[in-house]
């Protein structure tokens, strides 16, 4: 009788965060966050202003430095996983008068896959064009990015993220300040990506729609309040805990940490 072959280890989750702490001017803005996001889920990150929602995804991608804990993407440290991560930053984070065309911006999505010393190839342009088509912005490809409406700007950023052809996406408030048509188009796009097996984390600030848009929710306020399927997490008590309770003690202690310069791991 042969011993039963051990089952192959399960594939590592797309995103695993352990005891993540991030500080800003020595004040903790994220504190000991644990998270393991299963593959193929559309996850909303919600919480009050200053809860560290943007900081969380920025820390995951190495955009802001980590004070403690670790982040693993598909089981490997971030430095080896950049190619599998796509990012949609907040719209206001860039200067829309910058002298680039819509096409130039979308091509930036290919930069992570193009080696050093190389320029985007014809294939890269074709991909960029297809992504623009997908978000309905192909007619604008050769326009300069100034004079686009908020919704159009967001579509350009989405096209750039699509051009990254990643498995794990981080999106920072993609619904902020866009028109209803764009919002609907983005939701459709997110669902499509999810159905193709991508994992998507979206910072969101509109509670009523959060319930319909996302498979899972992360309730965040300096620390992780709750994480789970939307039906289980979207409850009065948990939302109260995230928003209403104000977690005053936690933020007071964070302020004290800043003032006294106490060591944070």
């Amino acid at each position: 009788m042969t011993p039963p072959t051990p089952a192959p280890p399960p594939p590592p989750p797309p995103l695993e965060i352990h005891d993540l702490t991030v500080t800003y001017h020595r004040r903790p803005v994220l504190w000991g966050v644990d998270l393991a996001v299963p593959a193929g889920k559309l996850v909303g990150i919600i919480g009050p202003n200053g809860a560290g929602k943007s900081t969380l995804i920025k820390a995951c991608m190495g955009v802001v430095p980590i004070a403690g804990g670790w982040v693993r993407i598909f089981g490997s440290p971030l430095s080896r996983a950049h190619r599998r991560v796509g990012y949609v930053p907040q719209r206001e984070s860039v200067d829309w008068d910058f002298p680039v065309s819509v096409m130039d911006v979308v091509l930036m999505g290919r930069y992570g896959k193009i080696g050093l010393f190389r320029r985007p190839s014809r294939a890269d342009r074709d991909i960029a064009r297809a992504c623009l088509e997908k978000v309905g912005m192909l007619p604008y490809a050769n326009r300069q990015i100034a004079n686009l409406s908020g919704g159009q700007q967001q579509r350009v950023f989405l096209a750039r993220a699509l051009a990254q052809e990643s498995d794990l996406y981080f999106m920072d408030e993609p619904f902020a300040g866009v028109d209803a048509a764009t919002e609907a188009a983005i939701v459709t796009l997110l669902h499509e990506l999810r159905d193709r097996g991508c994992t998507i984390l979206v910072v969101h600030h509109d509670l009523p729609t959060a319930r319909n848009y996302f498979d899972m929710l992360l309730l965040l306020n300096l620390r992780r309040v709750a994480f789970g399927p939307t039906d289980e997490v979207f409850t009065y008590e948990l939302l109260q805990k995230t928003y209403g309770g104000r977690l005053t003690i936690l933020s007071e202690v964070a302020e004290a940490v800043r003032q006294h310069g106490a060591p944070i791991p």
Binding site: M61, Y87, P89, V94, D95, P99, V100, L107, R119, R160
Partner: protein, 491 residues
């Protein structure tokens, strides 16, 4: 993005500069020998490039224009213009220290000292920003003034030293292109080639790090390294330009060409090219003017040349220029006027059920409630643009096929738009005319087709008038062979 073209042009510009360098050279003349001639002699001497000192000065000025223009373009789009200013003032103590160390005006010692001082200045700015509540502008102001004051004191001290009195160290304040020697030129060439090569090779990295640093970091680009490399190159090019432009104004060579280029184009790679070319031209021009004036300080003249080019860009840039915008507005206003005349001609023909093709000036004047002279002027305008012919015998205009086509389009646009507003937007029929008067001139073919589709190819406007189709005039019945307006319509 078509990077090939600017690559080739930049390479060409560099080639030209090196050709100037490689022209048969005699011993370099000394600074003092260049003064004393008349303006005409100086101009001749400059333009023939006989004199090696002139060649050095010109080549150096052009090289510094290229490197300052290229790097300045990144400063302008990243909104770091003031960083360039602070950096260029912060190098002065380094220049003085380099001089004291080598006891001569050794370009290499001065270069090293100045680069160190410049980088120290940027580090102090960063330090102030990170450890205090002060924002960048205040930190830059502090460093700029502080370092510059130290530099001025040191330069004054050097001039009191026996070795320093005739050293020409004071030339570093306002610049003297004539003081560029072969070793200075080597240094400038190295810096210009380095700057050009870096921009060409790392264009993609510099672009994404400048436009969206967070995104660049998310795809694993070393944004900090890119930033500091840019600052280092900036320090190099500022320092290499000191000899010719001077500490006080070198930042203008970073900002002015780049700012002019920014007005001229909407694409980064073209902006880089334009900035380099404008920098090169301002450098050469400033150098020339300085020779004409028997060694006036070169820095202010280069900056003036750059500012003149900026002013030209400000006034005449194809999209953002003040004069261009005024001109476009004017020409579009005259097009609208012309098209309105065309429409009037059509309306007159329509009212006559298209009997007789000619429209007399009197009819035109009456319909537009104008004098015959005005009608005449407008008729001439139609003729000038090939939209009509004028028949002096009958004093009437006759639309050409092109004119007829355009007239039908305009009336069609007008009536379709009125119909669309009343139907789709539910605006009362008596409110839509004014709007259609403006819209008719701008509707494109695609939009018109879309309007037709949405309006189910309707053929009557809200006021009951027919919407003409492209062959309306022919379809309106037998065309009279005579050009003459029917009886009673003539003059």
């Amino acid at each position: 993005m078509k990077p090939r073209q600017p690559t080739a042009l930049l390479a060409f510009a560099l080639l030209v500069v090196f050709a100037v360098l490689l022209a048969p050279a005699a011993e370099a003349a000394k600074i003092g020998e260049l003064t004393g001639n008349s303006v005409r002699d100086q101009a001749l001497r400059f333009l023939t490039l006989r004199d090696p000192a002139v060649r050095y000065a010109l080549a150096g000025s052009m090289l510094l224009g290229i490197s300052c223009g290229l790097l300045g373009a990144f400063l302008v789009v990243r909104r770091l213009a003031l960083v360039g200013d602070a950096l260029s003032h912060a190098v002065l103590p380094g220049v003085a220290a380099g001089f004291l160390w080598s006891q001569t005006k050794d370009p290499f010692a001065i270069f090293v000292g100045a680069v160190i001082a410049g980088l120290l200045g940027t580090l102090v700015v960063e330090g102030i920003k990170q450890t205090t509540r002060l924002k960048e502008d205040a930190a830059l102001g502090l460093v700029l003034a502080g370092f510059y004051a130290v530099g001025i004191c040191m330069v004054t001290m050097i001039q009191r030293l026996p070795t320093g009195a005739k050293s020409g160290i004071d030339k570093f304040l306002f610049g003297q292109a004539a003081a560029i020697g072969p070793r200075d030129l080597q240094l400038m060439a190295v810096v210009a080639v380095l700057a050009t090569a870096t921009v060409l090779v790392f264009y993609k990295e510099l672009l994404v790090a400048s436009f969206d640093a967070a995104f660049a970091r998310s795809i694993g680009y070393p944004v900090r390294v890119i930033h500091y490399s840019l600052m280092l190159l900036l320090a190099f090019s500022v320092v290499s330009a000191l000899q010719a432009v001077g500490v006080v104004l070198v930042s203008a060579m970073l900002i002015t060409p780049a700012a002019a280029a920014y007005l001229l184009t909407d694409r980064m790679h073209r902006m880089l090219l334009y900035a380099a070319v404008i920098g090169l031209v301002s450098g050469a021009l400033g150098c020339f003017l300085s020779f004409l004036g028997s060694n006036l300080p070169t820095g202010p003249l280069m900056v003036l040349s750059g500012s003149a080019l900026f002013t030209a860009a400000f006034l005449f840039a194809s999209r953002h220029g003040v004069v261009t915008r005024w001109w476009n507005h004017r020409s579009s206003a005259s097009r609208v006027r012309r098209e309105n005349t065309l429409k009037t001609v059509y309306r007159i023909l329509e009212d006559r059920k298209f009997h007789g093709e000619g429209v007399s000036l009197r009819e035109l004047a009456e319909r537009r409630r104008e004098t015959i002279e005005d009608a005449n002027r407008q008729a001439r305008d139609l003729v000038r643009h090939g939209l009509a012919t004028f028949h002096p015998a009958d004093l009437c205009v006759l639309l050409t096929p092109v004119g007829r086509q355009r007239a039908i389009e305009l009336v069609r646009n007008h009536r379709l738009w009125e119909l669309y507003l009343t139907h789709a937007a539910h605006i009362p029929a008596d409110h839509v005319h004014e709007d259609a008067e403006r819209i008719e001139h701008v509707l494109g073919e695609d939009v018109v087709r879309e309007l037709e589709r949405r309006l189910n190819y309707a053929d009557t406007d809200p006021h009951g008038r027919p919407i003409p189709t492209p062959n309306a005039i022919q379809a309106a019945g037998p065309v009279e062979t005579t050009r003459r307006p029917p009886p009673g319509y003539g003059l």
